[in-house]
Symmetry: C2
């Protein structure tokens, strides 16, 4: 099967089906994209996958979509491409297979901007919140985004008015990289008022969408998009959110991925902080972590959670205070040839979700490093004094 | 031994020793107050208790103190008096005996105001915070205090400028009862700017101190006083607090008593909320509970904590969703003759701390009621359909 056939098939699917469809994802994974398209065209796919396409099966706009994308400076990135963010998306795959169909990974992505998708997402934090933000919320979003990119991390957000816009702008102002995950075609900036902002992001960062050019940002697409904001970042910070807002769905997806959900408190007299306080008051393990600064955000994202024991006494070594899971994972990380979390999980004998949860913390301690192929020991650990 | 001798001895001790001294408390409990005074005067008390008195052993101002108190409308309340808040102070006794000497209960109290100390403290919440409060903090303190007294609860605080003052004033404005726990003689209003406020509290609520008239509010007395704010309330809400402030000590004492510590968030840009955010970010079980309203405060104070199971299905009965500890405690509460938590603990076979933790929640469900002698089943539970 040619690379072109694979690519065309994925482009066809990108228009034919709404993304995030677990049955379709499973079929593509099983028989490949070209065969999936053949089955759908013949009406012979399993009913659950066939349902994902419906009447759109009659449409073929692959060439037009790819041509349009090229005209707009948009590239179509598939799992076959070097920059496909395989490692960062791993928890989505695992979660889908573990019974959270809403977290089905993207089949391919439409991308615009100079940055490499895999590189900018391997150290990224989502900063999201209300469109009806207050001056306080926008100020805090900007401060956090500034602090995050200052420390070399990427700011992911949804390109909306309010908190999202403030986060993107501050990341750009700090000379950092920001990634806007949109809910429609990248040639159709939405909201229109952010047209100029998206142009600046396309110059210095990345615009990303699961929908081909021309697709309108329908209401339900925002919910589908929200899972990808959580999927493309190591943790999510909610700055301001009204009661029962859309940001709660992103926070839930983030939690389901085993990644930290953080929330910024505000005045209890402010309606714009009701949703963040709800997240902070959630019962038991579901509660978001309260964060007051970018530093605290990065602490959280690099946290080993329950796995991090109390600080050791005596000369501290980066390995000293690791819990049993982190130690098992670290021992299983290859010395030179990087491995994906799935392989490390097998070697360590721990669940993949634990592996992806623990690795960022090991990276913050400079014990491991992330490459395009996965994780390996850091240079310091590979030296004679290391291992 | 006459009641007068007991009373005089406690008044002598009140001036001779700083309150909250565990060794002195233990000696009084063992041999009684008059014998304790005799031993101290003879220099024959155990060294740890003798140290509590030091050079003050030569001083005898019992008559002068009691006369001065009478002139100022201050009464001297001892454990022999009907209004002594035995049940509310129980967790202090238990904690002291369990190895937290800083929580030694008061030997006696100087009180001014029309309310009965035991009655106003059996349903009370402490609302405390920074002297350097913001307009936001004072507004929230007032809202919370207002909501708390509206629901029939007492507001306890420390009479300080800022949050404390706002809480006291709002409780009075709502026609409720408020209790100011001061760190010096009740005839010496401190801060002086709150002289008029204290007069109003003395008319409608209660001023309480462990120090006899004339005693100056020394710096270290505020820390000793803080434990009593926690001791005289069912839970503590911190509204605003700077980093590493005195309110943190009250919060710690409250936690050590097994009572809920709550904190109100604020803008992360406000220095006055740094301390409350620290409380909310504390690790594991030590974290304060975030509260946004008086309603949430009372939910927390009446909470059964881990003991409260998921809501039952079908016709809900107040007993239905009780956990094993709450059920054991409820079964051990006497039908008619009220019993103190210690006796209930023996009957239920659970630790006293668990009993005092669980009883307020049972009261909120109207399963039990608190009398001057302790707890008994509520009227509804005593009826034929109950037990």
């Amino acid at each position: 099967m040619s690379a072109d056939a694979e690519r065309s098939a994925l482009a066809w699917l990108s228009r034919a089906a709404e993304p995030g469809h677990a049955a379709l994802y499973a079929l593509v994974r099983e028989v490949g994209a070209p065969m999936t398209v053949d089955l759908l065209l013949a009406g012979q796919a399993p009913p659950s996958a066939q349902a994902a396409v419906g009447a759109r099966v009659a449409e073929n706009r692959v060439d037009a979509d790819l041509a349009m994308a090229e005209r707009c400076g948009i590239r179509f990135v598939t799992p076959a491409d070097d920059e496909w963010p395989e490692v960062v998306l791993q928890p989505m795959t695992v979660a889908t297979e573990c019974g959270v169909p809403e977290l089905a990974p993207p089949l391919a992505l439409w991308v615009r901007g100079p940055a490499r998708l895999d590189e900018v997402t391997c150290r990224s934090v989502a900063v999201i919140g209300s469109r009806a933000a207050t001056a306080y919320g926008e100020h805090v979003a900007a401060e956090f985004a500034f602090g995050v990119v200052e420390r070399g991390w990427t700011v992911v957000s949804g390109g909306a008015l309010g908190i999202d816009g403030a986060a993107h702008r501050a990341a750009l102002a700090a000379g950092g990289i920001t990634l806007a995950v949109l809910a429609g075609g990248l040639d159709r900036p939405y909201p229109a008022a952010h047209g100029a902002l998206f142009e600046r992001i396309a110059v210095a960062g990345l615009l990303v969408s699961e929908w081909p050019p021309g697709c309108a940002p329908y209401r339900r697409r925002f919910l589908i998009r929200n899972r990808l904001i959580a999927g493309l970042s190591a943790g999510t910070v909610v700055v301001e959110a009204a009661a029962r807002s859309g940001t709660a769905s992103t926070a839930r997806r983030c939690r389901e991925l085993g990644r930290p959900v953080m929330a910024v408190p505000g005045p209890v007299t402010s309606a714009a902080s009701v949703g963040t306080h709800e997240l902070l008051r959630a019962d038991g393990g579901d509660a978001a972590r309260l964060v007051c600064s970018a530093e605290q955000v990065l602490q959280e994202v690099g946290r080993l959670g329950a796995d991090l024991a109390a600080p050791a006494r005596g000369r501290p070594e980066p390995r000293d205070d690791l819990g049993p899971v982190a130690t098992a994972v670290l021992d299983a990380v290859p010395v030179r040839r990087a491995a994906p979390p799935e392989r490390i999980a097998v070697a360590a004998g721990v669940p993949v979700l634990d592996v992806v949860r623990v690795l960022p913390g090991l990276e913050l301690r400079e014990l491991v490093e992330l490459t395009a192929d996965g994780w390996r020991l850091s240079r310091a650990q590979r030296s004679p004094t290391g291992r």
